[in-house]
């Protein structure tokens, strides 16, 4: 594949365009690297530790001082706290309540509720609540 790099004057103007016949695994990996700086986190499942790509994560929840990472149809434990994961995972993730972080790219749609919070439906059909206090942050991240 032909690769062209053009220098730009600021980080905000940085962008990447990929012209491809199909989105192969290699291209998907490149997209993950560009979007999340290749972020991945160690997670534990049945006693085994493995690295989970940020792009596979749907949301992360903290319950009783334990942190759980949810993918499309799996759940893993992790030793990280939510605030640490927020830093590691970067701008593609949103703190949607005190105990939850959601991957914005996995939100199918949102529905406004009367008390100004949002009900978000994820790509796997699960529904999460984006608390009133975090709606502004979501709008900021989306440039709305």
């Amino acid at each position: 594949m032909k690769v062209t790099v053009n220098k730009t004057d600021s980080y905000e103007n940085e962008s990447a365009v990929i012209n491809a016949v199909a989105v192969t695994d290699d291209i998907r990996h490149a997209i993950d690297l560009l979007r999340n700086n290749g972020a991945s986190i160690p997670v534990v499942s049945d006693g085994d530790t493995r690295m989970l790509m940020a792009s596979d994560i749907y949301y992360i929840e903290s319950v009783d001082k334990r942190t759980y990472v949810y993918t499309k149809d799996e759940c893993y434990g992790t030793r990280y706290r939510l605030y640490e994961l927020e830093e590691i995972l970067g701008a593609g993730f949103l703190r949607c309540s005190k105990a939850m972080i959601v991957n914005i790219r996995k939100i199918r749609s949102v529905r406004a509720e009367l008390n100004a919070r949002l009900s978000a439906e994820l790509l796997n059909g699960e529904r999460l609540i984006i608390s009133r206090g975090y709606v502004g942050e979501l709008k900021k991240k989306l440039g709305v």
């Binding site: 100004a116 709008k139 440039g143 709305v144």
Partner: protein, 145 residues
């Protein structure tokens, strides 16, 4: 801090609505009966602000709660909020002599209901507009299913 901000915003909004109610009532009295009430008693402006701050905790109690609630629970809370705030406004109106007879009370009640419904229609409209903008933006970046 968010709760303090919420109380302050609610107090400001309710005080403004009461001021609007009383302004409309004064205008109605002037144009229908020729009664000039522009010279309000010294305590009236202060009483409007006080009532705003009396009503704000009701809003905090019933509307601020961010925990998962069904749509029907929320509607019930809004109805309860409407009635409680109306109760406080009516009682305060009586104590602070905002109205002197039943006709005056009915005018205040009617304007209150109109404003309350209008505020919720406007709020819903703003929320739906935001919802559309957010969904449009999400469409641009969403991962493939």
């Amino acid at each position: 801090m968010n709760k303090a901000k919420f109380i302050f915003n609610q107090a400001l909004m309710i005080s403004t609505s009461i001021l609007f109610c009383m302004g409309v009532r004064t205008a109605i009295l002037f144009f229908t009966k020729g009664i000039d009430m522009a010279g309000w008693e010294w305590y009236v402006p202060l009483s409007i602000v006080i009532v705003g701050f009396l009503c704000a905790p009701v809003s905090l109690l019933l509307l601020y709660d961010d925990q998962a609630k069904s749509a029907w629970t929320m509607r019930l809370r809004i109805c309860l909020h409407c009635l409680l705030v109306f109760g406080i406004v009516s009682l305060s109106g009586y104590l602070f002599h905002w109205y002197s007879d039943l006709a005056g009370f009915l005018v205040v009640a009617l304007i209150y209901i109109i404003i309350y419904v209008f505020v919720w229609i406007a709020t819903t409209w703003i929320l739906k507009a935001d919802e559309k903008k957010i969904n449009d933006a999400i469409d641009q970046i969403r991962d493939e299913e």
